[in-house]
Amino acid sequence: MEIYLPIAEMSVHWIVILGMGVGVGFLSGLFGVGGGFLLTPLLVFYGIPSGIAVATTLSHITASSISGAVAHWKRRSIDFKMAGVMMAGGLGGTAVGVWLFAIMRRAGQMDLVVSLTYVPMLGIIGGIMLNESLKTLRAWRSGHAPARIHPVNHVWIHGLPLKARFRQSRLYISVIPPLAIGFVVGAMSAVMGVGGGFIIVPAMIYLLRMPTNVVVGTSLVQIIGVAIVTTLLQATNNYAVDIVLAAILVTGGVVGAQFGVRAGARLRGEQIRLLLALLVLAVALKLLWDLLVTPADFYSIGGV
């Protein structure tokens, strides 16, 4: 049951790869995240060279995000204007990210940069989300009206110029924060092979204060745009996209994503947020553990 990957130049068990695609696709449909932050480490752990894992994961992200976005589009829960603004920022970020990628890889510090940025970021985001969703769930269970989530009042955000009306999100805010969020996430997707949904979703909820029901669909649209551009850049600059690997991942991913979207429709927003918070914290702890624990082998090998 093995299949040979022409670009990675190795054989893999296609059922294992398909299973990874289904599992990660389910999560991406459920949470509105691309799932790259799980799939890339999984592929590397399986033995796929990290450059190819980073670049090929983006195809999987594209497909499962489209599959999920179509479902959200039917429910009219996408703010295309907001997605467009963030995508514009994302394209700039991708260009910077490809440049940073080259510098860090030359220095051999890819792993360190990924871990050092992921751990505090995922830890903080996961912690905030966990706290908020637990508070809401507890209030709901004890019969009180759920406490409105009051993020820090970002006065400075409302003082920014270039205000625009986002009808679907019922917001009238400056375009600078969504542009900035898009930029950061675009840079991350080039460097780490992630769509960045796990950053965008909380940023939309807590920074932009978008309604939860449009957040997931909108983040999917933004992720699709960035993932497509990054795939093209990785294919032309690094020849790192393995289309056979991508096809297997995508096949599993689109099926998983459909089930994820359906499961998500049955859960309440707070429950989804609680689950996502736990997942994000688990990844952060795993990365922290790898940084602190004494490695079994001090030597690692790259570029055989």
């Binding site: 670009i7 599959s67 360190l112 093209l232 032309t236 082998d297 001090f298």
Partner: protein, 249 residues
């Protein structure tokens, strides 16, 4: 290159009374297809003795298969401010991407270490052509040998060469699925009294074929078109799946 030259010199310098080594490979071209999961090749040969020489005299055969040369970067983790980071690195250039050795007996019983180093035989004699490192590269080289042995790209099989008769020998060489493409070299050495008496080298090619080859060429010759194809595949699959699932529910 160094080794090829060396082999030519070695063959030219053979003493007139030496036994002759004749060897062959069961397959000179291995084509990797989509269902390639590794295969075996057989290296076989015969020791043709000088007339009047006793063929039962102790002799040893060593079969070495070397993959194309490559650069291996080895990094070492060190603890800095409580966390483990990649600190030092060594780039070993000109190491074989694949190395297989089979011999009639353990190498150390066949020849003294100086002879093995001299003829560049055995994992421990594998040396890079050049090294980029700020430190002594030996621990990095040992780490590379350890890792590649674990990945079954570097292998030593004492007893892997069997004599079928007084003159005929045979060795099985596994070619795992993860091997690099390119030109390989099959070297056969005849040892007697701790020294090489005769040697022979045969090329072996490992290449992709069929659809895999075309995809690889597509990716490298028209990377933008290839990228577009990958994107189109993902977009269409995502779209189709959402249509299919809408119908079924």
């Amino acid at each position: 290159m160094r080794r090829a030259l060396f082999l030519v010199l070695l063959l030219a310098a053979q003493p007139a009374f030496a036994d002759q080594l004749v060897s062959g490979v069961s397959q000179e071209l291995i084509q990797i297809t989509s269902n390639y999961t590794g295969s075996d090749i057989v290296v076989f040969g015969a020791v043709e003795g000088e007339p009047g020489r006793d063929m039962s005299l102790p002799k040893d055969v060593v079969v070495v298969v070397r993959g194309p040369e490559t650069d291996i970067t080895v990094r070492r983790r060190d603890r800095v401010a409580g966390i483990w980071i990649n600190h030092d690195a060594a780039k070993l250039s000109g190491m074989p991407a694949y190395y297989f050795l089979a011999s009639t007996r353990p190498l150390k019983e066949i020849a003294p270490p100086e002879a093995l180093t001299h003829y560049n035989i055995g994992l421990q004699s594998l040396q890079p052509d050049s090294v980029h490192s700020h430190h002594d590269y030996e621990p990095f080289r040992q780490a590379a040998l350890r890792h590649l042995t674990k990945d079954r790209l570097y292998t030593e099989v004492p007893g892997g060469v069997e004599f079928l008769s007084a003159t005929l020998f045979r060795a099985h060489v596994p070619v795992p699925a993860g091997v690099a493409r390119g030109q390989y070299k099959v070297e056969v050495y005849l040892f007697r009294d701790g020294d090489v008496e005769s040697a022979q080298s045969t090329p072996l090619f490992i290449d992709q074929t069929g659809l895999e080859r075309r995809l690889y060429n597509f990716a490298h010759n028209q990377p933008f078109g290839y990228g577009l194809a990958a994107v189109a595949m993902a977009v269409i699959m995502g779209w189709i799946s959402s249509l299919l699932f809408r119908r079924s529910t």
